[in-house]
Symmetry: none
Subunit: 214 residues, 4 copies
């Protein structure tokens, strides 16, 4: 998560290629965080990165491509998967991590952009699917351990678990619109735990959306 990272932060006479690249992407995320996708102006991004507009257009086809790229850069960083010893603890930890990411300026910006009008961009949709596919995959060991410990019924689907966990948090963030805090995280964990124990998260169905799970 190298946000304000590369020492080329300010309108400095940017030397050459890679520094510029990083500076522009950082500026893009920053702008995204401040005003969202709609308010993002290539000219402002360029200025913020200490670079000329045409230089940006030289590397990225258009505003969309720029945003996609900037998002992809910052999305790689994913939520670390915990191992507290109990599925309850693990779920709570995962929920908190997710909330923590979502309330960070960058996280907020990225997530908002992933949902906003940028949704219309096919690349964004793809990126989104990729991200969640990844998250689902990484949750598998957590669920597997819980099943092994006998905490969850055999056949519990990791994807369904992650979905159930993430859903209330995103719902709060994007739809109902209230504050996003640990209370929400814990509630999400409790709901997921109850559902998993009740055996309703065994759906092997395509939860991951358009991503084929085979």
């Amino acid at each position: 998560m190298e946000l304000g990272s590369t020492p080329a932060d300010r309108p400095r006479p940017v030397g050459r290629g890679p520094k510029m690249h990083a500076a522009v992407l950082a500026a893009t995320v920053a702008e995204l965080a401040e005003g969202g996708y709609a308010a993002l102006t290539v000219e402002r991004v360029a200025q913020r990165a200490g670079v000329h507009k045409t230089t940006v257009y030289r590397r990225w086809k258009d505003r969309a491509a720029l945003v996609v790229d900037a998002l992809a850069e910052h999305i790689a960083t994913d939520i670390p998967m915990p191992d507290t010893g109990s599925i309850g603890g693990d779920l709570r930890e995962m929920a908190r991590s997710l909330v923590g990411w979502l309330v960070s300026p960058t996280g907020r910006a990225v997530e908002a952009a992933l949902i906003s009008d940028a949704v219309r961009l096919p690349e964004i949709a793809e990126a989104r699917a990729r991200i969640f596919g990844d998250r689902f995959r990484r949750a598998e060991p957590v669920v597997a351990r819980a099943v092994a410990r006998g905490e969850l019924p055999v056949g519990t689907d990791p994807s369904a678990v992650v979905s159930a966990l993430a859903a209330p948090i995103h719902f709060r963030l994007l739809v109902s619109g209230g504050p996003l805090d640990d209370t929400v995280a814990e509630q999400a964990a409790r709901i997921t735990l109850a559902a998993a124990r009740a055996g309703v998260l065994d759906t092997p169905a395509r939860v991951a959306g358009p991503v084929d799970k085979g």
Copy 2:
């Protein structure tokens, strides 16, 4: 969709053009459905409504105000609250209704607009809060009946139930991006039922976000 419409619609000094008014709002929703908020052009809306651009601007301050109004108009249509005799049936029914609404062209457009870049508009935020407040409120009898029947623990919070029910559905629609069908609805109902029975939906806290729960 024209609930409280034609004669004395709103405290707006309309006077002359109720037809125009309706036509413009319909055109707005149509455009919203086709291209989303970002691609919505006042001129195109006007043209589609068979009206001149300035006429639109006479009544609505902004593109934003226009969208807000159009959305508000079509939001009135709410999900009917069922009474099947069991909370399981009621939840399934509510989930199906919500899915039905969200997959309808209008519903899809409205809900998408409510989340997209239009989120930045304070009025949209307000409208969103109002809508969900309404939904929460209308769910109260359903939960109350279930509690009375002994299906759910005393103290179960209707808001929490609705949130839990709506969350997976919206998550699918907005985040994970897969197809929205009855499978999703039933999964949501099952999760909610499990959580409610487990007594984790008794949070008296403001789950509905900024909405007053009185």
Copy 3:
């Protein structure tokens, strides 16, 4: 051109017709004085006259007609023709009268409107021609007396005299743009007198513009 015939203009003095008529014309002149023809707005005129825009449009075809009428109303006030006993005194007096009229708010407005973009209006051109034709005609006795007194050569053309007198004053007002005071008036009178005495103002040619003099 029965434009400014105030009292018994129409067969039926319906409603508060005549008062409105006068109020609107007055408002028009006032607006003309404040911002010129270009800045004159029918709506503002109407508002100033305490009348609705459509009421104005009912009586006057368009902005042009309104201005023409308003001007005609105030043009009636013409320069009184003096009789001081000498042509020098008469000319000086006429010049001073003209200057006095032109520096008055109304006079300034009227004259400016007659010249400004309103020039493109044929009716304005006509009105202008009529006005000057009138002034020329009314100057005839003055010149005739001077000739009779032997002050001016026989054959001196009254039109030419008035033109010569008015020209430097209007030139100052409209073209060179300096202050308009008695100095200008006297200079105009002196020039005219010198020219008339030298016999160069005997041109019987069409000085009155597009008006055919035979």
Copy 4:
């Protein structure tokens, strides 16, 4: 008409489009000639110049600024000052030149714009003052020669002479509205000559208005 034109025209950071610049100004004058200032549309000017509207607005703040600039460009062309050997001939020549300029399409447009509603623009007023100041200044040698030849009284003011000469011509053009031909020019010359000989054009006063006479 392109006196001090193409290469380093004005202290304007033009940079790229001198052709465009000239084309737009030419189009502006043409439009001015056809419909006057009031009817001048930026869009039409742009189209006529084969340029986009926004390009025009990039260089000129306003419709007003555009007109001012266009006028300034075409004003440089001034009336050549004659030297026929006699003041009578010189005056006649000057009057004819002025008439010639005023009846030319461009001259007519420029002069009309200088007087019309554009008068409200301060820059236009300035430009006007500058133009006439220039004309007055350039007339000085003509008068000086006439005085040297003994044709005119010592102390005759060149500004007053030019004013006296130009006044009847402009009066005809702008006020009385008749045809503008050599008859008018000759009449103006005769009047001016008579007045100058009579010694009434010795006013040392500021006849040129706000123009500094040094």
